[in-house]
Structure formats: C-alpha cells, structure tokens
Amino acid sequence: MRATPSAGGLIWLVTLLAASLLGFEVSLMRVLLVAGWHHFAFVVISVALLGFGASGTALYLTRRWVVRHAAIVLTFLSLATAATMPICTGLAQHVPIEMTIAPALLGGLIGRWLLYWALLTVPFFLGAAALGLALMVCGGRVAVVYAGNLLGSAAGALAAPLLMTVVSPAWLPLVMGCGAALAAAGVAAGSPARRSAAIAACAAAVGLFLWLDPPHVRLDAFKRGAQIQRLAAQDAVERVGRVLGPRSVLEAYRGRVLHDIPFLGVGQDPPAISVLLADGHWVGSVLEVQSADEAGIVDGMLMASVYDLAPQGPRVALLGETGGLNIWLAARHAARAIDVVQPDRRLTVLLRGPLRNLGGAVLDLPNVRVWPAEPRHFIEHTHDSFDVIQLVMTESSAAGSGGIGGLAQDYLLTIEGLTACLGRLEAHGLLAVGRAIQSPPRDNLKLLATVVEALRSLGVVDASRHVVILRDYLAVLTLVKPTPFSDAQIQRVRAICRDRQLTPVWFSGIQAQELNQPDALPGPTEGPGDWLNHAAVQLFGPAADRFIDEWAFDIRPPTDTRPFFSDFCRLSSIEAMRAAYGDLWLTRTELAFLFVLAAAVSVTVAAVAMILPLALIRVAQGRRGGWATAAYFGCLGLGYLLLEMTFLAHLTVLIGDSVLAAAVTIGGFLFFSGLGSLVSRFLGRRRAQNVRWIILCLVVGALVETIGLRHWEVAAGLPVAGRLALGLGLIAPLAFAMGFPMPMGLARLAGGMPGLIAWAWGANGFASVLAAPLAMVLAMTWGYHITTAFALAAYLAAGVVFGLLPQASWTTDRS
C-alpha cells in the first residue's frame, strides 16, 4: 500500500476537491440566501470559511503523523468532505436560529448560532485539510498541484451557477459532495475492494441521512415567502410558477388572500393578484387583468401623481419593473412608448409563461419593449430620451429596513447613476423615485442628498427649484427635473396634493401652512414641518455638508466607488440609539455594516486564537521562519481576495450583469492564476528578486487597470460578448501574475522547511477568510479604491517578506 499517493492521484484529488469545495461555497451562499437574509448569509459564509484556516493549524499539529499516512488520511478526508456537505447542511436546517435579531432572545441565540456556524464549518475544514495535506506531500510538484487547486476552483465557480439553473438549492450540497467523493477515487488507499467498500459506506451514510431527512431549506419565518407557504398549507394560495437560477429562486403565487400592492391609496378594492417572490422576498405583484381598462386600481398608487405632471403621451422608462403595475399605470395615461428594464430574464419567462393568462400578458402590450439589462447599464447605453424615468426597484419598503439590503450594491442610486438618469430625460421630463417612509428618516434623505449632487454635476446651481417631494403616510415620492419646475407646475402640484390627499414635503415656494398635513410626521419643534422638509431645506442650502455629517444615519451620497445606498449605519450614533430605545436599539440600527464588522472581528479573533499559541510554541522551541511564513502567505491571501472583490465590483458595472460579472471575475481569476502557477515552476523559484519583480508588475498593472476601469463607459457600444471578453482580457494578465507568488513561496518552503507548508496553508486560509468582510468594511466606509490600496499594500508587503522565508540553505529541518 502506497503511503503517499502518486502525483497524478494528487492532482486528480486536488482539482476535483477544489472544484467541489468552491462549488459548495457558492451553493451554500444560495441556500442561505433562500433561507435568510443577505447580510446573514455573508456572515455565515465568512465564518464557515474559518474551516480553511483551522485546517492549517490542525495539519501543523499533526504533520508528522498525517504525512506518514497520507494516502489513508486523504481518502478519509475526501470521503468525509463528501458526506458532510449534505449532512451538515441538512443538520443546520434544524438548528432553531432566528435570523432577525430579537434583543431579549440574543443571549439564547448565540449558542445556537455558534452551533449553526460550526456545522457549516465542518466540510470546509475537512476539504481544506485534504488540500493542505496534498500540498505537503507533493514534494517538487507543488506548483502543478497548486495550479490544480486553482483550476479546480475555477471549474467549481463556473459549474455551480450552471447547476443552479436545474438543481434546487436544497439538493446542491449533495451534488457538490459527489464531486468530493469522486476526488477520493484518485487516492483511495488500500485494495480495490477496500476502496469500493469505503466509498459505498460513505454513500450509505449519506443515503440513510437523506432518507430520514430529505433535503430542504428552512425559510426564515419572517420572510414573505414563509408567510405565503403557511397560507399555501391552508390552501389559501397556490404556487403557479417556479424558476431556479443562480440569481435567485423565483416563485409566483396567486390567491385572493394576497394583497401586496405597495403605496396604494384608499380607493376601490384591488382585483386578484399574483405575487412574485425571489428567495422568499416580495419583488412584485401581477394584477390579474387583461386590459388597461380593468387596471383602474393603479390610479390610486402614489406613483400616479407622476402622470399628473408629465407631458401628454409620455415616453416612459421603468427601471426594475417586475409585475407590471407601473406598466398598467403608464398605459392608462396613454404613454406612447414604455421601456421596461429588468435584468432578470426569468421574470419575463414567468410572466409570459404560467402567468400569461393571469395578467402576465401586460408585457405584450403593443407599445411595451422589454430590455433584459441592468438599469444602470441601460441608462448609460440607450440613445433614447424619456419623459418619465421611474426607478421602480427602489420602491421596496424592505430595503433599508433592519439592514436587509445594507450589503447590496446599487449602481443606479449613486451620484453617477442619477446623473446618467437625468441626462436621458427630455428637458421637461421627470425622474420619479418612490420610497417607504422610515423613522427617523434615512432613505429619502440619502436619496435627496444624492439627487442634489447629481443636479450639481449637471451644472444646476439651485437644486431646490428642480425637486418636488410629496408623500402620504406610508411613502415618499421624489420628482426631479433637469429644468426648474414652472409656477404653473407648482400650482398643479398643489392641486394634486389636494385631490389625492397628499402631503407636500418640498417644492419651490412652499408655505409653512401647507406643511405636514393631512398626514403629520414628527419634526423639529420650531416650525410645523416634518424632518423630511427640514432636511430638504438644509440639503438645498449651504449647510448641507454639515447636516449630512450630523444626521443620525449615514446619508452621504453614494458613488460608484462606494455604491451602498442601503447602508445607513453610523457607529457614532449607537450611544444615542441606546439611550433612546433601550434594549431595542439594535433593531433601530442598520445591521448590515455591524454584521460585517462583527464578522471581520470574529474572524480575526479566531485566527489569532488558533495561530498565536502555535507561534508562541515555535518561538519557545527556537524554531525559525514561522512569522515570515505567516506574514508572506497571509498577505498573499489578503491581497488576492481584496483585489478580486474590487474587480468584481468594477466588472459588474462594466459588463452590466451581476451574475455574469461574478462568473467572469471569480472563474477568470482562478483560471488564469492557475495557469500562472503552472508556469511559475519554470522560474528560478528560490530567487527572491523574481518574486519581487512579479509582485511589482502585478501592483502596477492593478493600478493601471483599476484607474482604467473607472472609465468603463468607453465600452458603451460593445455587445455583451464584447464586454465579457474585455473583462476577461483585463483579468487575464493580472491574475496570471497573481498565480506566481503562492507556489513560489510553497516551493521555497518545500526545499527548506516542508513542515511549514501547513503553517503557510493555515495563514493563507485565515487571511482569505478575513479578506471578504474586510473588503466590505473598507468599501462601505471609504470606497473600493481604498480596498484596492489595501490589496496592493498587502502584495508589496509580501514582496518584502519573501526573502525571509526559509530556504534550502537552512540545513536542519526544524519545522
């Protein structure tokens, strides 16, 4: 029996295992997004990936034993990874955690959260341990084996989204586990009979578990999807359509007990509707009507006020329209052309498929054109001008509430995005944005601050004459014109408020007695206005910057380098919140940033807790090279992920499709890094200056590309394939260079102190895990350019430290 697998077996194992691990990570993200909320999924993934780093510590502690029994250990680890992917994911569904924080329950929840995270960490720990061990025993083939790791990861990153189109999220962990089981076949120790028995035992264990507990995803009880599932259990609603995909799981339900029509004023009873859900979140409603005449209910929507001011027969762009409510609204006001922009093609498939006879035919009205594109991309590239542009995707009242959307990047609600929208309006056109009222105000203030900056970028001096803000007791409608509102239009606004029982918040010349009625909101004691009106006065005036600095929430206008509209957290306001709200302060604070910060801190603490004792032991025993190893490989892990996430953000804008951008970025970085790793073995790998030159080229190249990406509009005329090719072309040379430092460092260790490879693997793993939340913290606080700066600084530090790595001249193996 071979104690050490063959090189070919190792490459087979590493490639397949890396593919299944990364595929499992992407799949787990999908599962968590269905089960819960975006920020929660982000935190869980970040913590679960601690398994990568922890595996390095475990390998280091047991290095002599595992190397001696490499074949058996690799077999066991691979099969265990395969089994634990579906089993641990399934077990985690039974842990009674609540993803929405109840302050009174926080103490009891922490223990359950730790269990939840621990369960999800296990497959990553086992799989990463197998990869690390393979690197430890591959000897001189480390560059090839590491390249297999990267290429396999690339394959997994690309395969997972494809599988999501046909495999339900609940079954994805099992599919990924099959990949890990196949990996074991390449190195399975013992006779063929024993190998078969081992694999069969693994399959039997998984099969038994799945028979007892069929794969399922437990939705958070507070999601709209969970509520609708309960209604379905009572036969009050029925599901009429479902579409899988990497972007989300789309579902459509219909039933007379569904009434989700936002911002609808008091009026007639609405007709039956179908509700559209994406990962359990409401994203739209479809009126079960067949003509505009039957859709009179939409005239009671807050958005209908737009058409009271818009020109006759307007040309309308609905950015982010989903179920057709606003299409009916435009149609009822004789819009001559309606451009519907919706990046998720599957919504169109749903409406034109199972919902066709339930109101979905709204997309086929003669003057409606549907554009499958990201709204920002559409606005930047269209040659048409519009009388009305409505930002439909901002109307969800869930956004900005409790941090649910805080991590989401929105390139339309940035200064540059709104400037582009205003630039596509006719001179008399209107930009319309509806948003739920928050208390205290957040979203609508941030929106107004962004609008003001967008108008200024177009040369407008007095933005106050270009904005009208109206509201009822639930939502605010902000209207913006490239040219000032005329006196006649202001009088028309007054009439609209009277007729529709709306409360004016701002228009030029508004009087004190017009404020805050018929729907009163709190405001400053001096004057009758609400806080929204107060904010408008401040933001239009010279003290705008000071007002923004002093507001309790972060209402700084987002930019393309910091596109986090729904992040409102201000750490400086937490004390005031606690004093005002007591135990419930946490629910009043936007959680996303706090979650990311908590993830970054917890990962750092965990990393230190796992590595520091070993480092101290090494120092006490007089062993050298540990700090340099940890620093070098840690910096590489940090720099790689930070740079990758920055490029992901930039390419999302360049390519104009978030899912394609993720596939291109993650897959491209891994693939070309893998090629770089393969080529690295032909360099004088132990010569420090080679590595330093490569890192220098890498840093310069990243700087040039990052600056160049800020002028992505040069790719405006390219089709999707062209933008994809451009994106890959930008990634290729950079990622190729990024593939060199890691295997060159590993090779140096292999020649000097091979026992430190586990140490290096662990440090790289921890740093990679830390990079994700760190990237978000940096981007949300200062912008992606700061994230890039950190990444490049990490690479430069690695270049400096490389020369301190142990090498072959260290005659004693004191690893």
């Binding site: 929405t100 924080i101 109840a102 302050p103 009174a104 329950l105 009880a221 507070f222 999601k223 509520q227 309960r230 209604l231 009572q234 009050a236 007379r256 007990v257 009434h259 989700d260 029509i261 936002p262 911002f263 609808l264 008091v266 007639q268 009873d269 009242s397 869930a398 509430s401 409790g402 009222i437 208390s439 205290p440 105000p441 007791y473 639930l474 029982q501 018929p518 729907d519 009163a520 909101l521 709190p522 405001g523 400053p524 004691t525 001096e526 806080w531 600095d549 002093e550 507001w551 309790a552 929430f553 306001s573 004093a579 005002a580 709200y581 007591g582 135990d583 419930l584 629910t587 009043r588």
Partner: protein, 290 residues
Amino acid sequence: MNPPVPSLGFGKTLAAGIGLALLAAAAMVTAKALPGQTTEEAPAVPQTPQKATPQAQRPALEPPAARQRIAERLEMVRRTITHPDDRRTPVRDEAVVEAIKTAPRHVFVPRERRSLAYRDSPLSIGYGQTISQPYIVALMSELLDLDPSDKVLEIGTGSGYQAAVLGSLTPNVYTVEIIKPLYERAQRDLLSQGYDDVHCLNADGYYGWAEHAPFDAIIVTCAAGHLPPPLWEQLAVGGRIVIPIGGPYQVQRLVVLRKLPDGSRRSEAIIGVRFVPMTGAVERTPENGR
C-alpha cells in the same frame, strides 16, 4: 311633575332583591358553561353594545393567570410604561394601565419563551409573528382612545395579547386572524383567561368584519403595503385606525388615521420615543412627537 313611585314593603323588597341576584348568578354560570362562546356562531355578548357614560370604566376582568407573576408584571408596567427610564413617552391612560397590569402576558407567549414574558421586548410566537413589546401594546391601546361602549376591530390576532388588553377596555372586541393555528391558540388562551367578550374569526383580515361594522376603532397589525379599502369603509366617521409600521422586532412608528365627516383622512405618526435624529451641536430640541 313625576308620579310618585309605589312603595314596597321591606320583606317584598328583600325577596325581590334575592331573586334578582339568584337569576343573575344563574345567568353567569350558564354563560361560562357554554363552549365556543367567543366564536362568530355563539356570541356571548349582546349584539348591541351597552351604553355607558363617557369615561366610565368596565368592571375589572380577573383572568385566572393574573394572580401569577404579579410582581414582575407590575414592575414591567412601572419601568416601561408609566415611569420609563429611557426617553419614551409614558402612557397615562389609567384604564389602559390597569388593563396591562391585569392581562397575563405570559399566557400569550409560547411556553419556551415564558421566562421572558415580562421583558421589555417583542417576542416571537411562531408562524412569523411576534407579540408586541408591552409598551407598544399600551401605547396603541391608549391611542385608540376607547370608551367602554366603543366597538374595536383588530386585524391580526397573533398571540391574542392585544385583544386581551382591549377586552378590558370594552366588551366589543372583534379580532381576525388568517393563520389558523394562531387563531386557535389565541382563542383558546383568551377563553381560558375569561376574555369572553373577545370575538375571534379565522379569515382574511383585509376584508375586515363587515357583519359588525361600523367600528369606532381599528388596529391593523399586518399591512399589505396600503390601507385595505374595506377597513376604511367599515370605520365609523370620527373613528381612528392605528397601524404599527416596522419589521419583525421593530415598530418604528404608529400611524393613527382618523376619518373626518367628509370621508377624508387625517393621520399622525406617533413615535413614542424622544429621539432627535441629529447629533453634534444641532441637537438641542426635543422631537416634535406625541
């Protein structure tokens, strides 16, 4: 000039009084013995609300569980409702305060959470619903401004706790819950605690409860993103609707809508917490809240 009242002898007066008392006792015993009295099929209260003088309070209910955890409950009321130690506005309505002191919140909380029943926090009751923070329940009850003769509709029974509090303020409480397990549990808990005047219905609350309209007050705890037109129609002129707005474990504000004689609407947002959303030198004035 009124005709003189004929005078009965002492013995006949005493006999008449004893007889009336016996009849009343028999009626009460009979009413409690009948099952399902708080359902639509067999209401336990007269269809026509009894008239009462303004400000008159109902005879205090005595739920059996009210004798449990009294100290906790009184401390909760003092610390979070009548004399809060943070910036929230105290609730002053004596009838509401008394109702909160009486209502055994722990009965309406799932068994595994009962140790937290008197914490100043909303709690999950399952099925994606929460039992509101006691302060919010008190505040909403105060905002409803109920007379004992008022008829109140609650959309979203949930745990039944809010309905129980309202049941101490008026005998005319109607509550609708669409989730059947929640409806059954709330109904059981309300009955077990003697809130026989609370009428429960398992139905879609969007359509209110037309058979008992108009209502003087309505609480809507589960909004569909707009005020359901049937509820507005079922609201009496001069009536008020209270809507808590916020996500789970949040109630960021309470909106009170009033129906004017011409059918139009006036609303006011009540935050209940004095929080000026400006830091630094500008923060000087209290919030223009309730």
